[in-house]
């Protein structure tokens, strides 16, 4: 996809975005609501015509082709099932395309297999409207999975499912993708999905692709403050850069993730003093809310930490991130 732009009236939805998706990769676009995720997918699918730029699939320029010619599968954000058909018929619909000429027995086998994976076998003969939201979404994922397209496009497919199912399906999707060697472009606002599923993550902001790289790269060396705040739980803490010594020149903001913070109890010579204001015990970990010379900092401690509210701690930094006035990353190497 090269230099794609699309605007609706004066509202620009996607701005000169360029993106190359390698064969068999699982690319996740991460961005908040309104970032242009859906529009990006629709542009690739051919449901929207770009104002400028072009889309190529395997080197073939498909900008002016219909969705059917492009051979893409898409899972829509609102489960767009065929309401008058049963679940089985919904799943079989793409396979019955005359382009494919799939034999009947094979259609049945494929539908059953996909239903199995998505745990909807028992609902196969239900009408599409007689399903819960989660089931509908699974059918709509299934309708893409029965196919073997050039690329799977998925628009927040898991966002309407409950937590357990979401975690299960996340693993299942990942497994299927690597098994089939499928190429997937997946958009979400959920950073956990992005981190767990992706071979590459693209971060969207206001219709622009602000960073593209492996989940590790994006997490460990975000190119901007915006990208840094999109990833990581608890969210990265942002403090004025001059709170600690040794800030590189030009740095305005200091970004602290829990792993950038070393805590020692009591007061120590070097480091900043902080006070515990709240302790959240989440079972597998403990979240500490600290007050550091008037700034709030949230960090993690281990599950059995004995820290109590009111305790005084000392904080030392381990390779934190620095950002300049515009939020761009400032490298630390040259002090």
């Amino acid at each position: 996809m090269q230099n794609i732009s699309k605007s609706f009236g004066s509202q620009s939805a996607v701005e000169s975005m360029s993106l190359t998706i390698k064969d068999s990769s699982f690319v996740v676009l991460l961005g908040p609501t309104g970032a242009g995720k859906t529009t990006t997918l629709r542009l690739i699918a051919g449901l929207e015509k770009p104002d400028s730029g072009k889309v190529t699939i395997y080197g073939r320029d498909v900008t002016h082709e219909t969705p059917a010619q492009r051979d893409v599968a898409m899972v829509f954000q609102q489960y767009s099932l065929y309401p008058h058909l049963s679940v089985r018929q919904n799943l079989a619909f793409p396979l019955k395309s005359p382009v494919l000429k799939t034999p009947k027995a094979q259609i049945e086998k494929k539908v059953d297999a996909v239903a199995e994976v998505l745990h909807i076998s028992h609902k196969l003969d239900n009408k599409a409207t007689e399903l819960s939201g989660g089931e509908m979404q699974r059918v709509s994922i299934g309708r893409a999975l029965v196919r073997d397209p050039a690329i799977y496009l998925m628009d927040e497919p898991l966002s309407s499912l409950d937590a357990k199912l979401r975690a299960d399906l996340r693993l299942e999707l990942k497994r299927l993708q690597s098994e089939l060697g499928a190429t997937v472009l997946y958009v979400t606002h959920d950073q956990i999905e992005a981190m767990t599923l992706a071979t590459e993550v693209g971060v969207l902001n206001g219709g622009e692709l602000v960073q593209f790289g492996t989940p590790r790269e994006i997490y460990e060396s975000p190119s901007s403050l915006y990208v840094a705040t999109r990833l990581g739980l608890p969210r990265i803490n942002t403090l004025p850069a001059d709170l600690f010594p040794a800030a590189p020149s030009g740095a305005r903001t200091l970004g602290l993730r829990p792993e950038h913070i070393a805590i020692s109890e009591g007061t120590a010579a070097d480091g900043q003093a902080a006070r515990v204001t709240r302790v959240e015990r989440l079972g597998d970990q403990t979240r500490l809310h600290l007050k550091l010379t008037g700034h709030k900092v949230i960090t993690l401690a281990d599950a059995h930490s004995t820290v109590k509210v009111g305790d005084a701690l000392t904080i030392q930094l381990k390779d934190p991130l620095y950002f300049d006035r515009d939020g761009a990353r400032v490298e630390r190497g040259n002090k």
């Binding site: 767009s80 619909f93 395309s97 009408k127």
Partner: protein, 315 residues
């Protein structure tokens, strides 16, 4: 203490009325409201029906109210069902029903489909197409008799323009072969817009994203039409057929205006036949029995049809 609704009503009503309403239970008030409606319904629908059933077993003649009325048992029914005229009129009705429904469904759906493709000025076209439906059947029947005039009629002229036959060589209303078609044409002209409107509602109820999904699923336009458009509009279409079917089963006004049942009795449909028996021959008992038979027929057909309709909707 929580106020009962009736107490709230009583409080909000002027004292005079409140005094009267107080003391009545909610149920009594409810009956007070539906009572008049139920009374009217009984008086103008149910009672005449029962009275007609009663009359259908007699030899009563409305033009001789003083003559003694005899109960004749099922003889009226027997005579109707063995009368060949009855069957001819039923056949005329069936022929008319079949062709009007078929033409109106096909043309109405096609028009709706065309109108639904979002082109410029489609709302103007909708208005124009819907116009015939808004006219009174009496007016429509009247001016079509002029259109059907062999010498000066526009209809004959248009037909001759396209086919080259002499316009005065055929008479739509006067010919035994053409007269049934003359009514079918007028009814189709007048009521196709109704079917179109209902189909349009059906088409508009199909969300765009369904077509987008189908597009992605590589369904051709042809396949989208048959697997999405048609099945999803079908319940609407069947509803239109139900309305038109019941309406046309008792088709009366256009026939009276156009052919009056003639020539001979080729356009004498059941309702025309019934009117003749009741108000020309004054065989009230016989006509009542005929009316009951027609009623049962429509009712039976409609119930079977509604069952089918519900099945389609459930699918």
């Amino acid at each position: 203490m929580i106020e009962k609704p009736i107490e709230r009503v009583a409080k909000a009503t002027p004292t005079g009325m409140a005094r009267q309403i107080k003391g009545l239970s909610d149920k009594a008030v409810a009956w007070l409201f539906v009572g008049p409606t139920i009374f009217l319904l009984l008086a103008i629908n149910i009672f005449p029906l029962i009275w007609t059933i009663n009359l259908s077993f007699t030899n009563f003649r409305a033009n001789r109210p003083n003559r003694e009325v005899e109960y004749v048992g099922l003889r009226n029914y027997e005579r109707i069902l063995t009368d060949s005229d009855t069957w001819l009129s039923m056949q005329a009705t069936a022929h008319f029903l079949f062709w009007t429904l078929l033409l109106q469904v096909l043309i109405g759906f096609a028009l709706a489909w065309l109108i639904n493709r979002k082109f410029r000025g489609n709302d103007v076209w909708t208005t124009i197409i819907v116009l015939p439906m808004m006219l009174s059947p009496a007016v429509v029947g009247n001016f079509w008799t002029f259109l059907y005039q062999p010498q000066i009629g526009l209809f004959n002229y248009v037909v001759s323009f396209f086919t080259g036959v002499d316009p005065s060589s055929f008479d739509m209303l006067g010919s035994v072969d053409l007269a049934p078609w003359s009514i079918i044409i007028v009814d189709t002209w007048m009521w196709t817009p109704f079917v179109m409107l209902i189909c349009l509602a059906g088409l508009r109820s199909i969300p765009d994203y369904i077509y987008e999904a189908a597009e992605i699923d590589r369904a051709s336009k042809w396949r989208q039409f048959w697997t999405i458009t048609v099945p999803m509009v079908l319940p609407f279409l069947m509803l239109a057929v139900l309305f038109r079917g019941i309406e046309n089963f008792k088709m009366f006004d256009l026939v009276v205006q156009l052919t009056g049942g003639g020539p001979g009795s080729v356009t004498e449909m059941a309702s025309i036949n019934l009117k003749r028996e009741a108000f020309e021959k004054w065989r009230t008992g016989y006509a009542s029995a005929f009316a009951i038979i027609l009623f049962v027929t429509v009712f039976g057909l409609a119930s079977i049809y509604v069952k089918a309709l519900n099945k389609v909707k459930e699918r």
